[in-house]
Symmetry: C2
Subunit: 207 residues, 2 copies
């Protein structure tokens, strides 16, 4: 198989992570998600727990995002004391980790990987989405999220993904021009979506 | 083959019409585009030329759209004299034509068909897009559009499609929630895009 990198952006609850693992298994390649945090920790000197904590804060705290934005302005800019935001430092460490892991064929779920790897030749950029009601069902039934808070949590997760993507790239999360293929996973199911991604990888990368 | 209806929304110059014809040929079913106008003419009593003229005006004249909108308000509303806009009458005639033609398996390109056929069970809703530069190349090289006006014309066509879709449906043209599958035709080429649509039809409709 020629080198194949597949990135999967996804709406929360659309099954993107499961799809990524299944696609990787079918192609006999690695799927990276949490391993990016481990690798970023090695690169940056931060602990895995610290990076996870930054991820968590960015995800759950609007106040945190506002403070970061106010203190540092654009994410890549240092503040008055020359310091780059911790969020930006973690983003750059994850970016280095992605570039390192993508030296070999792999699937990478989330983490702006389609943008980070934009110069990669054999790159298939996918985005997986689904209607809100189906994502709520998955969030409650599979991820164990309390059903009374599910809608708030699902929308907060999407907002966090959108904010981070839009902040660290010059692109808009989920906008079609950033992707090669966008799939409604409710229509095709997890396995059908995998079939389509594998087929697309064959078409684009000769997998 | 079980009944299969495939709708293809598309950015101008992305090759959507060619893709529609090729997909239909592979599945051994009809592809409807201009035939919808003929059928709408029969249904409405307007001539084919008149309907084409309305289509053309809507496409090329911003002033026409403003006048229609000012005179009639929402497209489905009659004006003070109880008359429905000609544009709306043509839309409804085309809608009836689509519903009639879609009694059998077929591919329908454009004309808000994904919305018109929203209650159809075996419906695969596709959207084909491509970067502007590639669409300009196709507009000049294949459609024979003057290269100095190509960008203006391509963007005007997209705007017209967007306006009509957004006006006559309660949806946003090109927004992912309206489609099952969205494909960047520059990445996969005409034939690769057809392969993916046929595969998706197999997955969804058991084609």
């Amino acid at each position: 198989m020629s080198k194949t990198i597949i990135t999967i952006g996804r709406e929360f609850g659309s099954g993107g992570r499961t799809i990524g693992k299944e696609v990787a298994a079918r192609l006999g390649i690695e799927c990276y998600d949490d391993k990016i945090i481990d690798e970023a920790a090695k690169i940056s000197g931060f602990t895995t727990e610290f990076i996870q904590g930054i991820d968590e804060k960015a995800r759950t705290s609007l106040l945190y995002n506002i403070v970061m934005s106010t203190a540092y302005g654009a994410p890549f800019r240092s503040n008055a004391n020359g310091a780059m935001s911790l969020d930006a430092q973690v983003f750059f460490a994850q970016q280095e980790a992605i570039l390192k892991l993508a030296r070999k064929s792999c699937v990478i779920v989330g983490r702006c990987a389609d943008y980070v790897l934009k110069d990669e030749q054999n790159l298939l950029r996918c985005f997986v989405y689904a209607p809100l009601k189906d994502r709520l069902n998955r969030a409650v039934g599979e991820y164990g999220i309390d059903k009374y808070n599910a809608q708030k949590i699902v929308q907060q997760e999407d907002k966090s993904r959108r904010n981070r993507y839009n902040t660290y790239t010059d692109r808009i999360w989920g906008a079609r021009e950033n992707y090669d293929l966008m799939i409604n996973s409710s229509i095709f199911g997890i396995l059908g979506t995998c079939e389509l991604i594998v087929k697309a990888a064959e078409e684009k990368c000769g997998t």
